[in-house]
């Protein structure tokens, strides 16, 4: 289906380098998770792929360079969920999710029956039906996050970019949101790139992790090879134990530095 390729992606803001030569290639159904301390350049990579910032190097979907495509084409092929989405309080959940159909609606037309049906299905799938006429401002954090993911899914794009999808959620909703994304990529072959801070969850769901530090990729591979206590100490400056469960799960447990 869709291949997302990064080649020597370099991004700088006012001369300050944020991402320095990022390379990767993802195939349909793969989940890549970007990890790394704040300011490592994770969000910049996602924003470049969403066509929101200028960069040098190459980001391409099926060999189509992002800047050469129209905003409409991009939105049909890449759904982007920002870290803190701006959600108008007095928009109903249906109206909000329908925004995801924007790339398919002609400039001055309005939503077709098909658009409504797509949104209907997604709301059902994400268990949001009972909220469909609630105002977005009245939703809880978990419900809001689901509404944002619903909007992204309404784009029916083969590539899904998630910037900190679980940052505002409790442990239950974190699991729920990630399980959902995982299910979708397995069923529909979605290509997923996410930026995450929770290393255990990142290792649990993603096929591959890429550890970024000061704009460069410093480690990449599966959870076992990337999540090592020496690596974490070096790049996060954290003292943490890494525990390997028998089923292959890698658990990162922070330690107290001064344990008296």
């Amino acid at each position: 289906m869709s291949t997302l390729g990064f080649c020597d992606l370099t991004i700088s803001y006012d001369g300050v380098c944020a991402v320095n030569g990022f390379n990767d290639i993802l195939h349909s159904g793969e989940w890549l998770c970007l990890i790394g301390p704040n300011g490592a350049g994770k969000s910049s990579v996602l924003r470049a792929a969403a066509g929101l910032i200028n960069y040098s190097g190459s980001v391409a979907i099926d060999q189509k360079e992002i800047p050469a495509t129209s905003a409409r084409w991009r939105a049909q092929n890449i759904a982007f969920v920002p870290q803190t989405p701006l959600m108008p309080d007095d928009m109903s959940v249906v109206e909000y999710v329908l925004l995801g159909r924007n790339p398919y609606i002609k400039h001055f037309a309005s939503e077709s029956k098909h658009d409504l049906e797509v949104v209907e299905k997604i709301l059902h799938r994400l268990d949001l039906e009972q909220f469909s006429n609630r105002m977005v401002g009245t939703l809880s954090g978990g419900e809001r996050q689901r509404a944002v993911i619903a909007r992204a899914l309404a784009q029916e794009a083969p590539v899904l970019l998630l910037d900190e999808p679980t940052a505002a959620l409790d442990i239950g909703h974190q699991q729920q949101a990630l399980e959902l994304v995982d299910k979708l990529r397995r069923e529909q072959g979605l290509t997923v790139v996410s930026a995450m801070h929770d290393l255990t969850l990142a290792g649990l769901y993603a096929d591959r992790l890429v550890l970024m530090h000061q704009g460069s990729c410093v480690a990449s591979g599966d959870a076992k090879s990337v999540l090592r206590s020496e690596t974490l100490a070096e790049f996060y400056g954290v003292s943490a134990r890494v525990h390997h469960e028998t089923d292959g799960t890698v658990v990162v447990i922070p330690q107290r530095v001064n344990s008296n």
Partner: protein, 354 residues
Amino acid sequence: MLLAKRATRERAGTRFSVWLLASFALLITAVLVGTMIGPAGPQWWRVPLELLNRLPLVTIDSGVSTDQWNIVWQIRAPRVVLAAIVGAMLSVAGASYQGVFRNPLVDPYLLGVAAGAGLGATLVFTLQRQSTESWLIDPLPLAAFGGALVAVFFTYLIGNAFNKSRSNTTLVLAGVAVTSLATAIQTFILQRNNDVVRQVYSWILGRLSSATWGDVRLILPYVSLSCIVLLMHRRLLDVLRVGDDEAIALGTNIRRVRFVVVLAATLGTAAAVAVSGLIGFVGIIVPHAVRLLAGASYRRVLPLSILLGAAFLVAADIPSRVLADPAETPIGVVTAFFGAPFFLLLLRTRKTQT
């Protein structure tokens, strides 16, 4: 489930059509009352009778003389119609500006329309107004219209030249700068020509008193075009509500949308300002009233703003001719008089956001 949701969508649709009908009824009422009331002319209750009499196939003896009818038709009617057009334009332009700039406190004069028009008008007043009265076309609306467009053009030019990021703050700040510059020039000219201060001042406060059918014909094409273009953007303005980045990620060419909306709103506003002077507050209070009543979706806000804006200005024009009879109270004073308390009310109960 599909049925259930359709039902709720229909319910929302019904509520909107109720609002639409109510606003329309309000507009008709305002127009009727507006043509019935005023100094001179026939007794108020005779006017509707005469209006019916003028319809084909209806004959009613309303007792309105030809002279009285002329007052109603040549003086009051164009004034009422012009108030409706200007009110509709300022309101829908205000709503659209609030949409593209995602700022609830923005009015259609934001990018320099008012100051530019004011400067243009000042220039005409100082260039010996009397001597222009024999001219074929009245230069005042043309100068105001031109001044408004030139000011906004400069705002856009400066805004884009200094705008490295894609934010619209630069554009707003450029508007502030252009407004100050034009106002400064205007003040300088007025300082040197004390004799026209009064005329310029009364123009700035807005005036519908000298409205003619000619004014209506002059601005109707611009205003209609502008309203149609803005209405066509109502769904896209809803997309812009999620912010620039997300709107782009959803496939919107926001630069183009913003440019076209600003252009259309400015053209219409400049035309309205050219014949009516600067009428404040309409562009802010009407869209906000609509949001409070019918919700913040631009699909509802834009059409309702057109109807309610028209009704509001027609209604506001009535006290402006009756309050200080026989003198006129400037309509800008009336709208601001109702606008200021409304703002306080809004601050108290503000639940909406653009």
